[in-house]
């Protein structure tokens, strides 16, 4: 405890600050050290921007579901309501909005398929299956499903 002894030399005649004494009772809770992080912390690095964009793709997901519900609702209400729905979907601002939504949907699909090998470790014969063998079939399923849905709707045209 030599350092303690030095601190107590008479050279420091000024009254000791309260915190160097035994911790006194205070009726206030001590404040933790929590540095304030900017709301725009993610703008500094491309990886962080990508992360926030990926998370924001969920808004495009909800938007697309809302469109599907509106479409079904218009189908229920009748031919006039349905043609009104198609007219709204053809308007310039709606197309522009949907271009953005579609870009986010693609971002979601691609990041989702690429993430699967990281989230799911498959071992065959004691060896970890390469990432391409896990995300590959998902891309294939994506293409097949898209083709089937497209074919079904086209067959009704």
């Amino acid at each position: 405890m030599s350092s303690h002894g030095q601190a107590a030399t008479p050279a420091q005649a000024s009254p000791a600050p309260s915190h160097s004494a035994s911790p006194a009772y205070t009726e206030f809770h001590p404040r933790w050290y929590r540095p304030k992080i900017s709301t725009y912390w993610w703008l500094g690095k491309w990886a962080y921007v990508k992360f926030i964009l990926r998370e924001l793709s969920s808004v495009a997901v909800a938007w697309t579901v809302a469109l599907i519900l509106a479409q079904v609702w218009s189908l229920i209400r009748g031919p006039e309501a349905y043609s009104r729905f198609v007219r709204v979907m053809s308007s310039r601002w709606m197309i522009a909005l949907n271009v953005i939504a579609f870009a986010f949907l693609l971002l979601h699909s691609i990041t989702w398929f690429n993430l699967a090998p990281k989230a799911m470790v498959v071992r065959v014969g004691g060896k970890r299956l390469p990432a391409a063998l896990i995300s590959g079939p998902q891309y294939l399923a994506w293409i097949v499903i898209s083709a089937i849905v497209l074919a079904i709707v086209i067959s009704r045209g």
Binding site: A62, R156, G157
Partner: protein, 116 residues
């Protein structure tokens, strides 16, 4: 609310919704937001589209297509607000807002499929 017991349920819904959204939503939006409005493909007539939507399989498909991705949205958007905006003090408002949308959307979808 989210705790040790309920977190796996929310996460499973998030995950299942993510798969459905990734596989089915892009083509769905592509057809009805671009291909039909811009005349890239022959627009299905009202009657045939209604008949297609009316079949039990399509109704089940549409219900799943609407419900699960909304739960995916709820989980992800909640954490986007949490990480991005750091509005911790509004945690409960955000939680009930996000999952409220998912539940209301699911109820609305179920009702629409019922009367379709």
């Amino acid at each position: 609310m989210v705790n040790r017991e309920t977190e796996p349920i929310f996460w499973t819904l998030f995950s299942a919704g993510g798969v459905v959204a990734a596989l089915f939503l892009p083509i769905q939006l592509f057809i009805f937001a671009f291909a039909v409005p811009l005349g890239w493909m022959h627009a299905p007539a009202y009657d045939s589209l209604r008949a297609l939507a009316h079949s039990p399989i399509t109704r089940l498909y549409l219900l799943v297509l609407c419900s699960l991705p909304l739960f995916h949205f709820a989980h992800r958007f909640r954490y986007t607000l949490y990480d991005g905006l750091q509005i911790k003090h509004l945690n409960e408002v955000v939680f009930f807002g996000c999952y409220g949308i998912a539940i209301l959307g699911t109820v609305a979808a179920a009702y629409l499929m019922w009367i379709l």
